[in-house]
């Protein structure tokens, strides 16, 4: 079976989608009997985005404009087209791919996904002027009718798309967890040190000032000074926002090294990129506090392996921190099934899910 992996638009070049063009993933697909053709489509003709090439011998790859897609698909005689990228940028891709009548599968990720309409916002004609909700979104949604199957890294982002009317003719949807570049180093639970006062940690080299401010606002809202301590890493984050005295910035080479020094990992962001430190924390049997949306919720099994809070709310994050700190001696969480959850994010496991999905269509 021959399938095309189409990466379209600047969003598809981000770190979120790199695991799906990695040598391990494409190699695992080949092992599953799939011949892969890699197609990079630059939707912005002026600037070409830089993608990391999958360095696999014998891999056929194209880099072209979107209007050449039908030609490439006809030439390669593909059984299926799998698209990656921001939903808003994929309308032309779906339209052009549909001309060859090749079955289309789209991968929904937290990166470039559709967000829900805020409550009490403008409706009807007044809303048409806005860029994110206007005519372009309507056109993209109309083009999404060509998509015959939907894969996604999590139920929440897929649900947002379906709720907003995308993929009306999709025959099925499959959840494949977000890919982790490499499995986290296993740490024996026996070496986990138990402290009287928990040390909360935050690790995110790509943290934005908004993310940090949400975390610091939540820490301030807890109203506690001696119930826990907070460390953030890497140290460069101290320059992004001014840290209060109770919060210390420490240097850490990677998530595994940082997690040796903390007891609880706090995750203020809900996208797929936060998966790596969360998997590392669960692997090291450290507690986690994660937002109640996206792939993280599924990795902690809807609260069985960690504490959830309403995404984006500093108030609810503060409550979660207080609950975790106060229940420190008797946390009602189980680490059962952690290894299985981690195993589902490996490239081999993902390739199996993708291949099985494609075979349903082709």
């Amino acid at each position: 079976m021959k399938a095309a992996l189409v990466f379209a638009g600047p969003t598809a070049a981000t770190a979120t989608f790199r695991p799906y063009r990695s040598r391990a993933f494409i190699g695992a697909l080949a092992d599953a009997g799939i011949d892969v053709v890699l197609i990079d489509l630059d939707l912005e003709t002026e600037q070409r985005f830089a993608t990391v090439p999958a360095e696999r011998p014998g891999l056929v790859s194209y880099r072209n404009h979107v209007d050449r897609l039908p030609l490439i698909l006809a030439q390669e005689r593909l059984a299926l087209v799998q698209t990656f990228g921001a939903t808003a940028e994929l309308g032309p891709v779906w339209r052009h791919a549909a001309r060859t009548r090749t079955p289309l599968v789209h991968f929904v990720s937290s990166e470039g996904g559709i967000v829900d309409r805020p409550a009490g916002g403008a409706r009807l004609l007044t809303g048409l002027g806005r860029g994110d909700r206007g005519f372009m979104q309507w056109r993209t949604r109309h083009a999404s009718r060509h998509v015959a199957g939907v894969l996604g890294s999590n139920r929440a982002d897929m649900g947002r798309h379906f709720r907003n009317g995308f993929f009306p003719r999709s025959r099925f949807s499959i959840v494949a967890p977000p890919a982790s570049a490499r499995p986290p180093a296993a740490v024996s639970p026996a070496v986990v040190e138990r402290r009287k006062i928990p040390v909360f940690g935050f690790y995110d080299p790509e943290a934005t000032p908004e993310t940090l401010e949400l975390l610091l606002r939540a820490v301030a809202l807890t109203g506690q000074s001696d119930l826990f301590t907070l460390r953030i890493a890497p140290r460069a984050l101290a320059g992004v926002v001014s840290l209060p005295s109770a919060v210390s910035a420490v240097e850490a080479a990677d998530a595994d090294a940082f997690l040796r020094e903390v007891d609880v990992l706090v995750v203020p962001r809900a996208d797929d990129r936060a998966v790596v430190p969360v998997l590392a924390a669960l692997s090291a049997r450290k507690s986690v506090i994660v937002p109640d949306t996206g792939a993280l919720t599924e990795i902690v099994d809807y609260g069985r392996r960690g504490l959830l809070y309403t995404a984006g709310s500093a108030y609810h994050l503060a409550i979660a921190i207080n609950v975790m700190a106060q229940a420190w001696g008797n946390r009602p969480f189980s680490f059962e099934g952690v290894e299985e959850a981690i195993g589902r994010t490996t490239p081999e496991a993902l390739a199996r899910v993708f291949a099985a999905t494609w075979r349903r269509l082709a």
Binding site: R117, A119, G159, F162, S173, D292, T297, Y302, H316, V353
Partner: protein, 310 residues
Amino acid sequence: MSQIDPVFGLIVIGRGDPRLARATIAASRTWRHPPARVVLAVPKGREHVFANVAPPGQTVSTVAAAEPEMLAAAVASLAGEVDLVLATPEGVVLDPAWLAGLRDHVILYEDSIAGVDLVPAVVKIDTEAGGASFDLAVADRPREPRLLSRLRGAIRARSLMGAVLWARIETLRQIKLATTGEGGDAVSFMLALDQLRERGRTTVRPTQHGCHVRLLPERRTGFDAGYGLYRRLEQLADARRSAAAVGGPSTSHIDLDLERLRLMAEQMLRSVLGKAGRHNAATFLKGALAARRDALAVRRTVVRDLRELR
């Protein structure tokens, strides 16, 4: 990956009439894939009323809990045994086609985690005409025209409509499942959906593959029901305003303003144009208006107190 053959668990929320609960449970026997477990959730202290509710050959386990915790207790009793939980108040009779459609949906769409199916069709059974034995035999009774149920679905308040909540049971962890008194089940279910909305796809839709059984004539005064239901909606609107101030969930499956409007409009029509239920509708309306008056008075008092604090 979801299960190829999901295991269902049925929760029937029993409140007052064992005949209605029995009709709901008996309908599940006709399903092509019958539920692995049937749980009857009843208010604590009322177990004796529902003692003989199980149809012959069917096992029903009873869970008795305080009124607001009935659904949560029933779900907890099913955890680990089923994949999909179906919860419905007594009197909602679901056809085999409904379960077949739901089964196909959850197998095909893994992102879909929960939903509320509203049942606008009503089967009215006159208890005075001798047609209401312990076994109501709903399947043998004539159904009303589909156009009439569609019209009712468009205008009727969701609080008074029959409803079914279905959800993948593993997604219900750390979700508050509260039930209220008689009526208001659909609203309670939709509040659960609001919490689940951030976890996956949730849907609210009407279904024609079922009916809501109502026993007539209704001789009770509707004042308490109207007061309780309207007060609950007012409290929810207040809670939503408070949640918005601290960044709570911003969108909802239920529009509380529209719901209150529908509630008042329907009862007004029933009290003017209705036949046997005119007295019930009029007293229901009086109760709702009293609740509205009280809510406004409380709000005025709070505003005045806050102003005096400055």
